[in-house]
């Protein structure tokens, strides 16, 4: 799942806003395939973590109720322009990806 993450970090005043969009099916495991009638196995992101300067600023645990191709935003203090922010996700089937961006 290369290239699944789009991330941006923008500093305005004291606050840095991080916006991220992850390409992921987020299957709940409750949906049925219309043709075969079989349940589609659950496949969703469980852990998301965001680090700034090696320190975790936000970590999240998700269930299957987060929409397909999840998008989220949060804000934090203490970053400077040019700092690096890393986002990592892990799903229930062991897939994961990381991406780094610069605070603009």
């Amino acid at each position: 799942m290369a290239g699944s993450i789009m991330i941006r970090a923008n500093k305005k005043g004291e606050l840095t806003t991080v916006k991220a969009l992850i390409k992921h099916p987020m299957e709940t495991g409750l949906r049925k395939d219309k043709k075969s009638g079989k349940k589609i196995p659950a496949h969703f992101i469980q852990e998301v973590s965001c680090k700034h300067a090696g320190k975790e600023v936000m970590s999240a645990q998700w269930g299957a109720s987060v929409s397909k191709n999840p998008y989220f935003t949060f804000r934090f203090r203490g970053a400077d322009k040019g700092d690096r922010v890393t986002l990592t996700w892990v799903d229930n089937q062991g897939g994961s990806e990381s991406k780094e961006t610069e605070v603009a």
Partner: protein, 158 residues
């Protein structure tokens, strides 16, 4: 003799491992600290009480005016409902989001570090018209706010 020594070391080693497992099992290590363990029970809970008890223990929830939930009043598509939670409460430790009427209500828990703001925005799935519940944890206290979203899939909204 050498074999016996090895056996001792092995026993000691496995005993230490077992103690850790017990500590984790007894909830001494909270899920927020042991991030590698995704709390399946909490996310599989089928009602709000089920997960609130597990995440927040016995602390009773207090309604708060200082938590704003921004959601559409009517959502045409329940698969993508934008939800934004803003709170003025200081030192927020975590923000939880749940869709009360979903099969598994708990959607997400965002753990905030000391320098993160009391703000989070994301998109949730909603099986039907339901309240969106936001919980904010500060120290030993938990605050909440809720707001209804009407989902009108198929154009026959109520």
């Amino acid at each position: 003799m050498t074999m016996n020594i090895k056996r001792r070391t092995l026993l000691k080693g496995s005993f230490a491992g077992a103690t850790m497992a017990i500590a984790a099992g007894a909830g001494l290590l909270k899920p927020s600290r042991v991030l590698a363990v995704w709390p399946e029970k909490v996310f599989k809970a089928e009602n709000v009480e089920g997960f609130l008890q597990d995440i927040y223990g016995n602390t009773s929830l207090q309604a708060s005016e200082d938590i704003q939930i921004q959601v559409p009043e009517i959502a045409e598509n329940g698969a993508v409902v934008p939800v934004t939670v803003t709170t003025g409460i200081a030192n927020v430790q975590s923000i939880g989001l749940a869709v009360v009427n979903n099969t598994n209500p708990l959607a997400a828990v965002f753990h905030m570090s000391d320098n993160a703001d009391g703000y989070v925005s994301t998109r949730l799935k909603m099986a039907g018209t339901s309240d969106v519940l936001a919980t904010v944890k500060v120290g030993n206290e938990t605050f909440f706010a809720r707001k209804e979203v009407k989902v009108t899939i198929g154009g026959c909204g109520g």
